[in-house]
């Protein structure tokens, strides 16, 4: 046993987050850790990374007791962690980020060509060669940034690699590169602790699957035999019969018509129609222009040509405020950056889009936020006066959705609504989306999750390189077909 955790406990004030976590793992294994948000996964990861001290319990590395004095100590001991939040310096280049602190020098000055060469070496050794070492981080897509983040963790050749939701922002060939890398590392003798919400991926990739719930490991499953439902049941502690609601037909009345919408450099000649009560998903690889498209429909960006009609009336939105008045709502893809004001209380965030009039009514604000917290089961229950940053990712997403639901939209646009959200909360959200569609709201959903895109929707719009390449009826297509169109092949 190379890494042993024994009865690890950690409390924040009176809240016990880890209640005796025990695990043994050896080198050359991929151990997947799954669990709902709030189960304690992040805290466990932070303890392993040396960022946070444990209250009690033992850590052993190679049979010797392990006391981590800080993140640098952890790295020195051979444990590297890749968090969900990117820790790169956006203004610097890939090479500078990879080699931070250990940039090669020549006669006292930084040797840039050697740095680039070394960075290239590192990237190639893990087969991330599509990344240019001289590129600035902020010019890279989120997916590529994530890959640089992973590469950075591998610079010191750790014996133990902890990955927290590494695949959340990846798709297509990048995703495959990640999987290959994990397998490669495992074969080279690294212990990979892999935390993910994507249950299918976890079952494919891992040698062992450990389920965490309420601060403890409650079960270990054999990935060769377990199913997703088994995992979900263990995570949520209750029986969930189906993840995705059954689809139903929309009423057919067109609410949103987009005609030849174009923004040069982002998307081109996009046309489609959205009907009342319908869920239309837009699937595509990262960079296919989906987010830019929906932001333009919402009025956050201006189209260069083309038309948008709501209920048959052509509209020109020059600011989101106009779109909102017409009945649109946009849940953006990055809730922390553009969906929430993290420093504000939850109830403030929920009421953010519906502040009107001269004087606000405190009573109705309180009522509205309590109503939403209840309807969407936002946890913890008394969170109305908590600040938004204190909530878990899934609950934060629910807060954003609440904000938009209060505006009584007729067209709800969701951009990656379940990114970084745990399975139990996902189920809640899918349920809610279905309910909304039933009441006649038209739903446009951008998703990088193939299963989600196909299972939730009535129709699927596939985008590639800024164009709509195919419109498919969800009931009559398959995930493979959708993926094929997204990648650029033909489906036979």
């Amino acid at each position: 046993m190379s890494l042993v955790l024994r009865e690890i406990r950690k409390s924040y004030g009176r809240a016990e987050v880890l209640r005796g976590v025990s695990l043994g793992a050896g080198y050359g294994q991929v151990v997947a850790i799954v669990g709902a948000n709030g189960a304690g996964k992040s805290t466990l990861i932070k303890i392993l990374a040396g960022a946070v001290p444990k209250d009690s319990g033992d850590l052993e590395l190679d049979g010797r007791p392990l006391e981590l004095k800080g993140p640098r100590d952890a790295i020195r001991q051979g444990i590297c962690t890749v968090y969900q939040e990117l820790s790169l310096v956006t203004e610097l280049s890939v090479a500078e980020n990879l080699l931070m602190g250990v940039l090669p020098k020549r006669r006292g000055l930084i040797d840039w060509s050697a740095a680039r060469a070394r960075a290239k070496e590192i990237l190639t050794s893990i087969r991330f060669d599509a990344i240019d070492p001289a590129a600035k981080i902020r010019d890279l897509s989120i997916a590529k940034q994530q890959m640089v983040e992973i590469a950075k963790a591998l610079v010191s050749k750790p014996r133990i690699l902890v990955l927290d939701e590494p695949s959340a922002v990846l798709s297509g060939s990048d995703l495959d590169s990640l999987y290959d890398l994990v397998v490669q590392l495992r074969d080279q003798g690294t212990l990979v602790l892999y935390v993910s919400h994507r249950l299918k991926e976890v079952l494919n990739l891992a040698d062992r699957v450990v389920v965490m719930k309420d601060g403890q490991f409650v079960a270990e499953l054999d990935p060769k035999e377990a199913t997703e439902d088994d995992i979900i049941t263990l995570m949520a502690g209750r029986q969930i019969e189906a993840i995705y609601p059954e689809r139903r037909e929309g009423s057919g009345v067109p609410t949103l018509t987009v005609g030849r919408l174009t923004r040069v450099g982002e998307f081109d000649d996009v046309s489609f129609q959205l009907r009342s009560g319908e869920i239309l998903s837009i699937f595509g690889l990262v960079g296919s222009g989906r987010s830019e498209l929906v932001e333009t429909i919402f009025g956050a960006r201006r189209p260069h040509s083309g038309s948008i009609s709501i209920g048959g009336v052509a509209k020109r939105f020059n600011a989101p405020a106009n779109a909102i008045k017409t009945g649109l709502a946009l849940v953006t893809e990055d809730r922390q950056r553009t969906g929430l004001v993290l420093g504000l209380k939850v109830c403030e965030n929920i009421n953010l889009a519906t502040m009107h009039g001269l004087l606000l009514s405190m009573a109705s604000r309180r009522f509205d936020s309590e109503l939403m917290i209840n309807k969407l089961s936002i946890k913890p229950e008394r969170c109305r006066n908590m600040e938004a940053w204190q909530l878990s990712g899934g609950n934060q997403q629910k807060v954003v959705i609440s904000k938009w639901l209060l505006t009584n939209p007729s067209i709800l646009i969701l951009d990656e609504p379940t990114r970084g959200v745990d399975m139990a909360t996902r189920v809640d959200i899918y349920q809610k989306i279905d309910e909304l569609a039933v009441t006649g709201i038209s739903i446009l959903m951008v998703s990088s999750d193939l299963t989600e895109a196909v299972s939730m929707a009535d129709r699927v719009l596939v985008m590639r390189n800024g164009r709509v390449v195919k419109e498919l009826d969800a009931a009559r297509t398959s995930e493979d077909e959708v993926l094929a169109y997204a990648i650029g092949g033909h489906y036979v």
């Binding site: 919402f298 553009t338 420093g343 504000l344 953010l352 009107h356 606000l360 089961s377």
Partner: protein, 337 residues
């Protein structure tokens, strides 16, 4: 169809005041910081009396104290709004001087009635705020740079208008506002208090006020929620300009002789009061109550040091130390989890 057990809503007990884990909460709001500030004010007041041979606790001194905190108080209120939205206004000192001399000049040189001159002073303050705010909001220039430039520009204009002082001592209606006292409380301080109340209501209970704080927290989120960020930012600078204008009028009224150099460096005291009151200079955090506390702490400290005849330089030393201590105390609570 998903079958999920309905969530049971368990009623949790609510108490009006709760103390736990080193946080004091009243009606769901974290008032720990305010409580500590209040303790500091009391502590200062208590040690002040013996240190000043009993002069501190006299009615005369309290009246002086209140009058002395009016200018800083008004400026701090305006500054709070600007800071909440993520900006800063270095030009308020110059706006004070400009309003003062315009009001004085309008009365003495142009013969306007006093109330018109006062209005003129306030309106010019608002205009300066409008200009600063527009430059920051529409042209996306850094607030520090814009208001620094305005500070110099406005001060220059003051000297262009009048190289010498303008005296208003002969006009009783002009000087009444700044010197009148009712039941021991100066009228100027009452006006400051009214402004604070209006400010608090505006901040806490109007959409514009709430969106100001939100803008300081995350501009993009606010924009996407359909709120005009530009309008919000400009409003804060206009408020700051108005507050500075009123401050200038009060000061002019009190002094009776307005020098063109009036008002310099008041902006730093305003910022200090906001910071001591718990406002985060990066924006998005701060309260009117906290700023009031900050103003009180600074005023009591100033009064105490003046009564003890401490050199102005020691006052700077002390002020600097207090600001650092306050920021240290706030630093933990401002790091996000």
């Amino acid at each position: 169809m998903c079958k999920i057990n309905p969530v049971e809503k368990t009623p949790l007990p609510t108490r009006f005041v709760t103390i736990q884990r080193g946080r004091l909460e009243v009606a769901g709001n974290d008032v720990t910081m305010h409580f500590i500030q209040f303790l500091v004010v009391i502590a200062l007041a208590l040690i002040a009396n013996p240190l000043t041979n009993g002069v501190f606790f006299t009615a005369n001194n309290f009246t002086n104290l209140m009058r002395q905190m009016t200018t800083t108080g008004l400026l701090s209120l305006g500054m709070l709004f600007v800071i909440l939205a993520g900006g800063v206004d270095l030009s308020v000192g110059s706006i004070v001087g400009f309003s003062a001399i315009i009001a004085a000049g309008a009365t003495v040189n142009w013969g306007f009635p006093v109330w018109v001159s006062f209005l003129l002073g306030i309106v010019t303050g608002a205009c300066w705020g409008l200009i600063s705010g527009s430059l920051v909001a529409w042209f996306k220039l850094a607030p520090f740079v814009v208001t620094l430039a305005m500070m110099t520009f406005i001060r220059g204009l003051i000297y262009v208008y009048s190289e010498i002082a303008i005296s208003t001592r002969a006009i009783p209606s002009f000087t009444a506002l700044g010197s009148a006292v009712v039941f021991g409380i100066p009228i100027s301080t009452m006006i400051m208090a009214i402004f604070f109340v209006i400010g608090a209501v505006f901040l806490n209970r109007t959409p514009l006020g709430r969106s100001t704080i939100a803008i300081g927290g995350n501009r993009e989120t606010v924009r996407l929620a359909g709120i005009s960020v530009e309008k919000g930012i400009i409003t804060t600078y206009v408020i700051s300009g108005i507050c500075a204008g009123v401050g200038g009028i009060m000061l002019a009224s009190r002094l009776g002789n307005i020098q063109p150099s009036l008002g310099g460096s008041h902006e730093l005291d305003a910022i200090a009061a906001c910071v001591i009151g718990g406002a985060n200079l990066a924006g998005g955090k701060g309260t009117v109550q906290g700023t009031v506390m900050g103003v009180l702490i600074l005023a009591v400290m100033n009064n105490l040091l003046s009564l003890r005849n401490v050199e102005p330089y020691w006052q700077w030393v002390l002020k600097g130390m207090i600001i650092i201590a306050v920021v240290l105390l706030h630093s933990r609570s401002q790091k996000r989890g």
